[in-house]
């Protein structure tokens, strides 16, 4: 190209291409070859290109201009923000996806702008909307995801990100979104932290688990940090650390053993449920926790322990004085233990974790534990079960579809054929084994297909049977 094209030429060129194919073919290389000044300069006397171009029709080029405008801007300008907002709400996702690197630098510039004006919260909503635009499907992971999650954490504002992280990631497509493994790990790490902040610990555990069990050839520091938080959040939520999925990469597992020893010790102490043991263990690893910035979670674990112990008591007692509860859960030696316990119980009753009443008729107070009033005989239960059956069916059918796709791949057949060669059987007994698995897998396919509905139906039937059985059981008891 001879010399710099003039501004008007550029604009007309942009305006001439508005369908994705021509953008990808001509406009992308054309714009990439232009000097940065073209985008950032704001020539006098001319109209602002951002006003000339429509963010909806010329999203691709609009993004180019916007990126450099945002980069050049220091701090926060209402006018620019208006442009940004107009862009993210109206832009054409397909065009933007063609310039995913520019999309990322746009997002980064936006965050930078917001941080520089000490209001990181500004960037959140535009980014959240932008992600929606950028995603090809609701479960797709984009490069913006980890950035948004991090920004939300910094701003401690989660209202806008919740709908996004509540949607499980089901689609990763590096070819189109240019993500890499770090995006995946970081997104789940930050996501887990967000859920932990919101005290939705089951989701947090899931997110950390996804990060830790991601396929790996070497362990990533993100995975190790995620594992530490995984341990603490699962203690909080389940009272124990569930085993990691079998497919967790070996190097990661080795590395976790080497780097997370104190956490494992804390977990094994915690699983014994005795207050004092855990306390000493906690004191022991306190510096490590503080260094890892996990001390807050660990302290919450202690609170959760009391809750868990109280919940255990509901299984063994009908009534129990607060004093007894205090000593039974190991707070007897602490000052104000009883009033603390009462507070915990009140909170638990409020949150529905236990069903109980406290009576102060006697000195010190008496707690009566009641049964779960939910008899599972309402339409809510049916709806819930139906919804679950549906979900399970969807997942299973997608699993089966994947299974079929893979089993019809030439690569898979080659692999299977080579592992069937008798000469190699002895040497590669592992792959032979795999082959037998496959044999079973074929049965598994059919079983899998009907599995969830049938299973749940069977369970329902069982429960109905149990229902029928129950009057008899009661008769038995009364006879005795």
């Amino acid at each position: 190209m001879a010399g710099e094209p003039s501004f008007d030429e550029i604009i007309s060129k942009i305006q001439s291409c508005s369908d994705p194919t021509s953008i990808a073919k001509t406009l992308a290389s054309f714009l990439n070859n232009l000097n940065e000044n073209v985008f950032s300069a704001r020539p006098h006397g001319q109209i602002d290109p951002l006003d000339t171009l429509s963010p909806a029709i010329h999203s691709f080029a609009y993004l180019y201009f916007l990126v450099y405008r945002c980069k050049a801007s220091h701090g926060f300008h209402p006018a620019l923000l208006e442009k940004v907002w107009a862009f993210v709400t109206t832009c054409d996702g397909e065009q933007v996806r063609l310039a995913s690197d520019k999309a990322l630098s746009f997002a980064e510039a936006l965050v930078k702008m917001a941080t520089e004006s000490f209001q990181p919260i500004i960037a959140i909503r535009p980014l959240a909307v932008f992600i929606r635009r950028l995603q090809a499907s609701p479960g797709q992971l984009t490069m913006i995801h980890p950035l948004l999650a991090k920004t939300c954490l910094l701003a401690q504002s989660f209202k806008d990100i919740i709908p996004i992280i509540d949607n499980d990631i089901s689609d990763v497509d590096p070819q189109h979104t240019k993500i890499n493994y770090k995006d995946f790990l970081l997104y789940h790490y930050y996501g887990g932290m967000i859920y932990a902040y919101l005290k939705k610990f089951d989701r947090a555990v899931e997110f950390f688990k996804l990060a830790v069990s991601a396929p790996a050839e070497v362990a990533s520091a993100i995975q190790i940090e995620a594992y530490k938080k995984y341990v603490l959040t699962s203690l909080l939520h389940y009272g124990k650390v569930p085993v990691l999925p079998k497919y967790t990469a070996n190097p990661v597992q080795r590395c976790l053993k080497a780097h997370c020893g104190p956490y494992a010790e804390f977990a094994s102490a915690y699983e014994k449920k005795t207050n004092n043991v855990i306390k000493t263990e906690l004191e022991k690893i306190k510096p490590i926790l503080i260094r890892d910035k996990n001390y807050g979670l660990a302290k919450q674990c202690m609170e959760a322990l009391h809750r868990r112990n109280i919940q255990d008591l509901t299984r063994t007692y009908l009534t129990l004085s607060i004093e007894d509860i205090t000593s039974l859960i190991g707070l007897g030696s602490e000052p104000e233990g009883a009033s603390r316990v009462e507070g915990i119980i009140v909170k638990m009753i409020e949150s529905g974790a236990i069903f109980a009443t406290i009576s102060h008729e006697h000195a010190g107070g008496m707690v009566s534990f009641l049964d779960d009033p939910n008899q599972h005989n309402s339409t809510t239960t049916t709806d819930m079960i139906n919804a679950q059956i549906q979900k399970a069916t969807v997942i299973t059918s997608s699993l089966v579809a994947m299974d079929q796709t893979i089993s019809s791949m030439p690569a898979y057949f080659n692999k299977k054929a080579s592992s069937n060669k008798p000469k190699r059987q002895r040497l590669t007994s592992g792959s032979h084994e795999r082959n037998t698995h496959r044999g079973r897998g074929d049965e598994g396919e059919t079983a899998g297909q009907v599995n969830p509905e049938e299973e749940l139906d069977a369970d329902l039937k069982e429960s109905r049977q149990a229902e029928n059985e129950q009057p008899e059981k009661l008769d038995d008891l009364s006879e005795k």
Partner: protein
Amino acid sequence: MDPRLSPDRTNLSPNPGMMDTSADNSHNMESEMYSDNIGTPSSLSNVTLTADGGNNSQDNNNSKRKRFVKVVEVDVPNNLDLDAYIANYKGHTKVNRLEFIADRCPSLQVDALKLAITELRNASTLNIPRYANLVKKLNEAVKFGASGSANVSSDLLNVDKAWADSQLQKAKQQTDLLEGELKTYKRNAIKESIRMGNIELGNHYYSCGDLTSAHRSYARTRDYCTTPKHIIELCMNVIKVSIELGNFPHVLTYVVKAESTPEVQQDKDLTKAKLKAASGLANLDLSKYSAAARDFLSIGEELVGHQYGDVISANDIAVYGGLCALASFNRAELKRLVIDNVGFRQYLELEPHIRDLIQGFYNSNYTVCLDIMEKWRNDYLLDLHLHSHIEALYTNIRKKALVQFTSPFLTVNLTKMAKSFSTTVPELEKELVSLIIGGQIEARIDSQQKILWAKQTNKRSAIFERTTAMGQEYEREAKGLVLRMQLINHNLIVKGAGSEKGGPGGGGDVDVAFEHGAHPRGGRTGGVPGGRDIPMFADARAGMSNFLSTFARDRHRG
């Protein structure tokens, strides 16, 4: 100094020449033995080895019976009549039991040792080290003024040197003679003679107290057994020695071997009964109380007259069988296998309190049961085989009693219950809590009014909750798997800094590029071509098929 408790557990191989020398001076021998116990093997003379041979086999014996860590000293047994008790036994176990009692019960120490020494003298034992050891113990007991030490005659206090020498001489001659004979037999290669020779040698070693050698000799006869009768003989011999050695797993193998041998007409039932008794003992030692109880209960009437007195007395069968049965059987089994068992009733007649205990338990008369158990506790702690299991058995019986007590009621008054279990309410509450947590009692405690309420579980709700949890688990696992497949498909794999550039090797174990800075995505074009993802596909697929099938299977099972 109790050799049983000596820390020296080294397993010296038996010295072939152990009977070659005579103990010239018993005092010398004692001191040498002492030194051996604190572990100075280098200074061992031939004489000490003699002493050691006998001693060591006992040491060995005890090291195998592990639960010796805590020695319970029993002050006064409540019901034990030592003379009557020990009269039921014969052979080695008599002396073993006496020595055991002497070690644990100071008030009976002198009497037990006296009886043991007399027994050894009367049986003209060849196990002189043991004799010397017992005399030494008696001397110590008298020195510390144990009760009953006033009327110990002096001939028991001193080692009868002449007799001991002659016995040692005899033992040595006998060993030489038998070994010589065995050699001749072997040269002549007559199977039956070799077998007999080995058995005789084994018997001789056994009476000398060298159990390991005896075991070896008996075991050697295996190759020369020609008839089922021989095999039974071999098994019985090995069982006898193994029980004394405390090698109970070995006992079980030989019991099985003997039981699988074709029937021998002559005293078939007696052999069977003995085998049952032996396997009962072995199971008891291995803490398999249910199996032990079944063994003891199926002995039949054959051993009522202490026919197996060199191992177990009829009274023991009643006690062991009764306690094990109470600790492990449910009510129906108790009725069917114990109370209605005609053969076992004869044994129970010998130990009426065990009969009362079982009846009391069956009739839910727990106060009586616990009284009887407490009353006899000390006696059982002095039993050679039972002592280390008494705690476990008693706890089990108590737990079962608690469970049985609560099972028929919808509500139970804890105060009344505590009375019938002769305990306090808080203690009872603790026991009940542990049982409730363990899932053995389905009930909840009203600690305000001290009432135990049977729990009414709502099965329907439980199944709903389980279903929901299962569904969520399935969803979660499946989603994780699909996502993982995609990651692998798209080669989104955590790699070291080195391997990302193409070559493996570079990069540490941990990728420390943690801060989310600029995205290094120059020229990454997704799906890497080439063979490396092919195995991954296969892996993933195998994983997925596996998942589907195991999930289906687990659900059906669960």
